[in-house]
């Protein structure tokens, strides 16, 4: 399959102290890693694209590592994750779906086998398109305090023949989480759900 050509990488970190309520003892941190790559399938319909998922695995791993490092270097501090992709206008939504396996693989590898499905979203868009990357708990999808999202995007990508790939990790619950549901402390951790 074609070479993975990265034009640009972006790291964003948010440190949230409060949102109008009590200041958190430990601020919530969210981080996003974005890579803007050339879409080797842009411009025409290509039937066989699956092999590119393997080619993306090293990038997924590198982005997952950079996120842990942006959050302080301790993989055990990561409690939530998500992933997403924006495909440039000469590409196809299915090209964004190529990111499911390598993006998820990279994060699980770095986090030591997280059990929950990685929440994800994708779309086709122009440069400057924003993506709300959904976030859920890494070991139990139903942990309500960890349902979150991080908006990502950059003014100059994706160009028509590019794909913007995103991974997101967080260190905890929403800063003033208080709507009940399964708590992180109640996780059984067997099925990835509860």
């Amino acid at each position: 399959m074609p070479e993975v050509l990265v034009r640009k990488k972006i790291t964003c970190v948010e440190e949230i102290f409060h949102e109008g309520g009590p200041v958190a003892q430990k601020p919530l941190r969210r981080a996003a890693a974005l890579a803007i790559i050339r879409n080797p399938f842009a411009g025409s319909y290509v039937a066989n694209i699956e092999g590119f998922m393997d080619d993306l695995k090293p990038l997924g791993l590198e982005m997952a590592r950079s996120l842990v490092s942006a959050l302080g270097g301790d993989a055990n501090a990561v409690e939530g994750y998500g992933k997403g992709a924006i495909v440039g206008s000469a590409g196809e939504l299915e090209h964004g779906a190529l990111w499911h396996v390598p993006g998820g693989y990279g994060m699980r590898e770095v986090l030591g086998g997280a059990k929950a499905i990685v929440a994800s979203t994708k779309k086709v868009g122009a440069p400057g398109t924003r993506l709300d990357v959904p976030i859920t708990h890494i070991n139990a999808s139903y942990v309500r305090s960890h349902f979150d999202a991080m908006e990502v995007g950059v003014n100059d990508a994706p160009r028509a023949d590019e794909i913007l790939l995103a991974l997101v990790m967080t260190t905890g619950a929403r800063v003033h989480a208080r709507v009940g549901g399964l708590k992180a402390s109640e996780i059984r951790g067997e099925d990835g759900l509860r």
Binding site: R7, K8, K9, T11, C12, E15, N155
Partner: protein, 194 residues
């Protein structure tokens, strides 16, 4: 701390390819953004000393964060810029009070030097407003290869009674500069201009 900070975000952009040419080493920009309460929101305040003091604090904090995000020493930074966006209950002059009287000195302290004017922009706006932070060489404003800008935005800021304050730092100029002018190896470094 005089500033009441709700959130701090950092952004790093690393350009590895441009027009299909490899950029080696990659060009890198970082911005640190603080979202703070605007103590003067909702009323006319004649004396803006409180905001000036906040500017001094944020100059140091945000420059240190941006440099750390690039993983470089302060003196290795090449260009810089600053910007602020005032929420709808504030006044443009509030951004001026933060940015202009006192913010620059600690920026220069962290970066070791900084003879050139720190380019700046400001505006009033709502949640998700885009800040284009202008960039210029820190020791000689006329270095043409370093005229640039960095866009930052946060979907949830500034709220009506908040101000977003940003400092951007780079370790490089544009990816493939070729429009002539003063180059960085020609800097005399006496007047901040050349």
């Amino acid at each position: 701390m005089k500033a009441k900070i709700r959130k701090i975000a950092t952004f790093v952009e690393e350009t590895q390819r441009e027009m299909d040419r490899e950029i080696a080493p990659p060009t890198r920009k970082a911005a640190a953004v603080a979202v703070i309460e605007n103590p003067c929101a909702g009323k006319y305040v004649e004396d803006l000393a409180e905001l000036m003091a906040i500017g001094e604090e944020l100059g140091e904090l945000l420059t240190a964060r941006a440099v750390a995000a690039l993983g470089i020493s302060g003196p290795s930074a090449e260009s810089y810029g600053k910007a602020a966006a005032v929420g709808e209950n504030g006044e443009l002059e509030h951004a001026a009070a933060i940015l202009h009287p006192k913010l620059g000195t600690p920026v220069r302290r962290v970066l070791g030097k900084g003879a050139a004017l720190i380019p700046s922009s400001k505006k009033r706006g709502g949640l998700g407003v885009v800040l284009d932070i202008p960039l210029g060489h820190k020791d000689a404003a006329f270095v043409r290869s370093h005229f640039d800008g960095m866009e930052v935005r946060l979907n949830d800021a500034p709220r009506a009674n908040e101000i977003m304050v940003a400092v951007a730092v780079t370790d490089s100029g544009r990816p493939i500069p070729r429009v002539g002018g003063l180059t960085k190896d020609q800097i005399k470094g006496q007047d901040g201009l050349r």
